[in-house]
Structure formats: structure tokens, C-alpha cells
């Protein structure tokens, strides 16, 4: 086995895992705190990617898409939560599934009407369009490294926000015992709004970062959504730390599986999930209940 190839695959796996973390962190908190299985979370990723495509083709400045994805995601998440989702927290899971599935159809239809159904490549920004020599005979894409660094930075911010601030402890508390949060006189609606807005922003940011790596195409959110549910389940619903480690694990396993065990690559991640669930049914890092 050639070592620099393995090294590249490991970096790819980490970078993929970190992108998965950005999407999964919102998914796991929305599920953990509000109890909603948000199928439309993948659409947020798709919208972020198409935003990057549009910005890049209009202005040529892809980096502009990053702050726009974050701000737009915050606004979109807040609007969806206040306008729609908060009416569904007490409903049956089936109602929530129907709502969020309907949103997928709406978002995909809107994408199709505005931008068509073609695949579009999004060029890597010129300034990052080179390879970084890592060892004498091995170089790695600068853009992928940049994505890795941005994701790590966002993960660090998330970690500090969740673990070191009072708002963060309110979010963890709400994921664990929502009735007790009410009894303490905390307004859970604010926690829900924040969680939804930040979660949506992160998914859109992930989409914008991923666009140059894999081009943009119809229903691109859904393939990510499924793997992100695996991350959520493996990490433990409602746990940011869990989502982080599970995302890295699954990013690595999936990438290395595709590289070295292509015959069963599609299965590896799900075998891993089944194994974890047999061993720890509530995931690796389930918050205490």
C-alpha cells in the first residue's frame, strides 16, 4: 500500500467528516432539542451549494458565498422556525416527516425553476487553486486544506459556544430535560430559534464549502442527509461532541472504504452504525437522561 496515497485518503476522510459535522451538528440539535426529524436539513446544504454556484458565476468571488451562506442561513432558519416548525414540535412524528418532506419538494422545485436541472461545476477559487507539498513526493489540494481549516475553526466555535457559555448550557439542558428548562423559567422558544438558525446556517455553509469539491446538482442534499442521520445516530442524538467524533469516524470509514474496499464501500458505514447501535443503543455520546 502506498503511504502517501493513504495519507491523502486520510486527509480526504477528515475533510469529508468535518463537512458532515457541519451538517450533522444542526441536525442532531434540532432532533435532540425540538424532537423534530428535519428531512429538509439536506435542502439547506443544497441551497448553500447553489448559492456558491450563483455567487461564483456572477462575481467570480466564491469566498463571498461563505458569509452570505451564514447570514442567509441564520435568516432562513429563523424564518422557518418561527413561521413553520414551532407549530409542529408537539405534533406526531408523521406530521413532521410530511412537513419536512414537503419542504424538500418545494426547495427542489424552486431550484429547478430558477436554475434548472443541470450539473454545474464550481471552480475552485484561483487563489487556492494549487497543491501544497506535504512530503517530498506528496502534495494536497490547497482548497481541501482550506475547507479542513475552516471546518475545524467552526467546530471549535461551536464547541466553545456549547460548552463554555450560558446559552450553550441552556441548549444542552434543553436537549436533555426540556420540562426542567421550562420549570426554571427559561423561554425555550428562544433556545429553539437559536438552534434552528445556527443549525441551518451551518448546513448552508457546508454546502457553499462543498460546491467546488463535487459540483452542484439536483437532490444533492439528500445523499448527504442520509449519511448525516447515520452520524447523528452514531454520535448520540443531541450531542455536539458526539456528532463531531462520529462525523470524523464516518468520514474516514466511508472514504477509506471507497478507496480500499470498493466492493463493499456502500455498506461499511451502515455496518459501523449497526455495530455501534448494538454496543451502545443510544449512540456514543448520548446526553444523560
Amino acid at each position: 500500500m502506498d503511504l502517501s496515497g493513504l495519507f491523502a485518503q486520510v486527509l480526504n476522510g477528515l475533510q469529508y467528516g468535518l463537512l458532515l459535522f457541519l451538517i450533522s451538528s444542526g441536525l442532531t440539535l434540532i432532533f435532540g432539542v425540538m424532537g423534530v426529524i428535519n428531512l429538509a436539513h439536506g435542502s439547506m446544504f443544497m441551497i448553500g451549494a447553489y448559492l456558491a454556484y450563483v455567487i461564483a458565476s456572477l462575481t467570480g468571488a466564491l469566498w463571498l458565498a461563505l458569509p452570505l451562506a451564514v447570514l442567509g442561513g441564520l435568516a432562513m432558519g429563523a424564518a422557518l422556525e418561527a413561521g413553520l416548525f414551532r407549530r409542529f414540535y408537539k405534533r406526531e412524528h408523521l406530521d413532521q416527516v410530511l412537513l419536512t418532506f414537503a419542504l424538500i419538494l418545494l426547495f427542489e422545485e424552486a431550484r429547478s425553476a430558477m436554475l434548472g436541472n443541470d450539473f454545474h461545476a464550481v471552480p475552485v477559487p484561483a487563489i487556492l487553486d494549487f497543491s501544497v507539498p506535504v512530503t517530498a513526493e506528496f502534495a494536497y489540494s490547497a482548497y481541501r486544506l482550506a475547507v479542513l481549516v475552516v471546518c475545524l475553526f467552526v467546530a471549535l466555535l461551536m464547541f466553545l459556544g456549547i460548552e463554555r457559555t450560558r446559552i450553550g448550557s441552556a441548549v444542552r439542558a434543553a436537549a436533555e430535560k426540556p420540562e426542567m428548562v421550562d420549570l426554571l423559567g427559561l423561554d425555550a422558544r428562544r433556545i429553539h430559534l437559536l438552534v434552528f438558525a445556527v443549525g441551518t446556517a451551518l448546513a448552508m455553509l457546508a454546502g457553499a464549502l462543498a460546491a467546488p469539491l463535487q459540483s452542484v446538482y439536483p437532490n444533492m442534499g439528500e445523499s448527504f442527509l442520509i449519511i448525516c442521520f447515520v452520524v447523528v445516530v452514531v454520535g448520540g442524538v443531541g450531542s455536539i461532541a458526539g456528532a463531531f467524533w462520529a462525523a470524523l469516524l464516518i468520514g474516514l470509514v466511508d472514504t477509506l472504504g471507497k478507496a480500499y474496499l470498493p466492493e463493499i464501500a456502500g455498506l461499511v458505514v451502515y455496518l459501523l452504525m449497526a455495530g455501534v447501535l448494538l454496543w451502545r443503543p443510544s449512540g456514543l455520546f448520548a446526553p444523560g437522561r
Binding site: S169, E179, M180, D182, L184, G288
Partner: protein, 237 residues
């Protein structure tokens, strides 16, 4: 006379088809301590949950300071100065002791803080020692202290304690009862629910006995103590 901090009038509530509370009238005035008594399953916890809006009232009213709050959200009722130590303690397992306390911190309606962090930690020195431990690393007694300390951090006017000594060793129970007495002396109104009848009667001004969702007796602790037949019939002691 100032209206009660919290009052129920003809309150009915239940789960599913079943009715548990069958028209309860009860009122807690400022500074007053009430012992809510009754055997297992008589509806004490259900009454507390309905007073706080965790369970909807089927009929009747809940009032705070004379205002109808029957339809008000739980967190708004809590913000009126009502704090609860729920059955099962409700400690956040994934938060540290300090995070549990600080999450609850809030001045009272007049902006005063009679229970700042230092006072809570002096009242429960154990919590200061365990400040950085997570909720799920605490013993049952420590969790109970944390639940009470956290309730005090909201600087309440009324503290509701549901089975605060349940499952604790005798020494720890005594410590919890001492604390409840201290809290009483500070002038806080209380509703105390507990299986240890003698201890409840020694800290409250008035006992109310709940039988199958109705209050059947109300009076001073000494009147209840003087009536062994009543104690035996409704409380099993």
C-alpha cells in the same frame, strides 16, 4: 389582604381519559408553608404539575397574585417567582454543578437577589466542593441539594418541594430538613410534599390532605397530630 401567591379553584386535571384531580381548592399566601399530604397515587404530583401548567387544567382555575394564569405557559409561571424541586430532581446530567446553578440564576421580580451564588454555596458547601462535576457524577443526596440550590438561584417567592428526601439515607434526610427549615426562616413560602409525615408537620404552618384527587382535610399540624385516627386513615401512620 394580599392575594395568594398561587391558588387553585375547582381545579380538575388528569391523564388521557382518566381524571385525577377532582376539583381542588388550595391557596398559598406569602411566607406560608403548606404540607401537601396523601398516600401514594393520590394526586400530589399531578396537582403540582397542573399548578405549573405542565399538565392542562380540564376545569377550574389557577391564579397567581389574584390573576388568572390557567392558560399561561410553564416558563411564565416560573418567572412569577415559583420554583420547583420536582420528583426525580431534574438535575441536568450533562451540565456541571456550577452550570446547573448558573443556568437558573435570575433576580426576583423586583430585581433583588436574596439568594446569590455565594449564599447557595454556603447553604450547601457540598455543592462548592463538587462545582466542576457533572450532574450524573453526583450522589443522590448531592443531586437533591443541587436541585434545591438551583431552585433558590431563581430567587423565588414560593418553593415547591416534591419528595425532596425520597431515597436518601437518614443523615442526608436530616440535612435536607435542616435546609428546608433555614429556607422557611428566610420567609419563603413553601409547598412540601414528603412521605415522612412527622418531618413535614414540623416545618409547615398548615397541612392539606389529598385523597383520590380531592382535598379532604385542611388544618394546623398540631390538630392533625392530635387525631391519630385521621393520620392513620389518610396517611397510613
Amino acid at each position: 389582604m394580599t392575594p395568594p401567591i398561587l391558588e387553585a379553584r375547582g381545579l380538575q386535571a388528569g391523564y388521557g381519559e382518566g381524571l385525577v384531580l377532582r376539583g381542588v381548592d388550595i391557596a398559598v399566601r406569602p411566607g406560608e408553608a403548606i404540607g401537601l399530604m396523601g398516600r401514594n397515587g393520590m394526586g400530589k404530583t399531578t396537582l403540582i404539575r397542573t399548578l405549573l401548567g405542565q399538565l392542562p387544567a380540564r376545569a377550574g382555575q389557577v391564579l397567581a397574585d389574584g390573576r388568572d394564569i390557567t392558560r399561561e405557559a410553564t416558563f411564565r409561571r416560573a418567572q412569577r417567582g415559583i420554583a420547583v424541586v420536582p420528583e426525580g430532581r431534574g438535575v441536568f446530567a450533562s451540565l456541571s454543578v456550577m452550570e446547573n446553578l448558573l443556568l437558573a440564576a435570575r433576580p426576583d421580580a423586583d430585581g433583588r437577589t436574596p439568594w446569590p451564588l455565594e449564599r447557595v454555596l454556603t447553604t450547601f458547601p457540598r455543592l462548592a466542593q463538587r462545582a466542576r462535576n457533572r450532574g450524573d457524577q453526583l450522589s443522590g443526596g448531592e443531586q437533591q441539594m443541587l436541585a434545591i440550590g438551583r431552585a433558590l438561584m431563581t430567587n423565588p417567592r414560593l418553593l415547591i418541594l416534591d419528595e425532596a428526601t425520597e431515597g436518601l439515607a437518614p443523615l442526608l434526610r436530616d440535612e435536607i430538613w435542616r435546609t428546608i427549615r433555614t429556607i422557611r426562616e428566610a420567609g419563603l413560602a413553601c409547598i412540601v410534599v414528603d412521605k415522612t409525615v412527622g418531618a413535614v408537620l414540623s416545618v409547615v404552618d398548615r397541612a392539606e390532605i389529598l385523597v383520590k384527587g380531592s382535598l379532604v382535610w385542611s388544618g394546623r399540624p398540631d390538630a392533625l397530630r392530635a387525631d391519630p385516627e385521621l393520620m392513620h386513615r389518610h396517611l397510613g401512620v
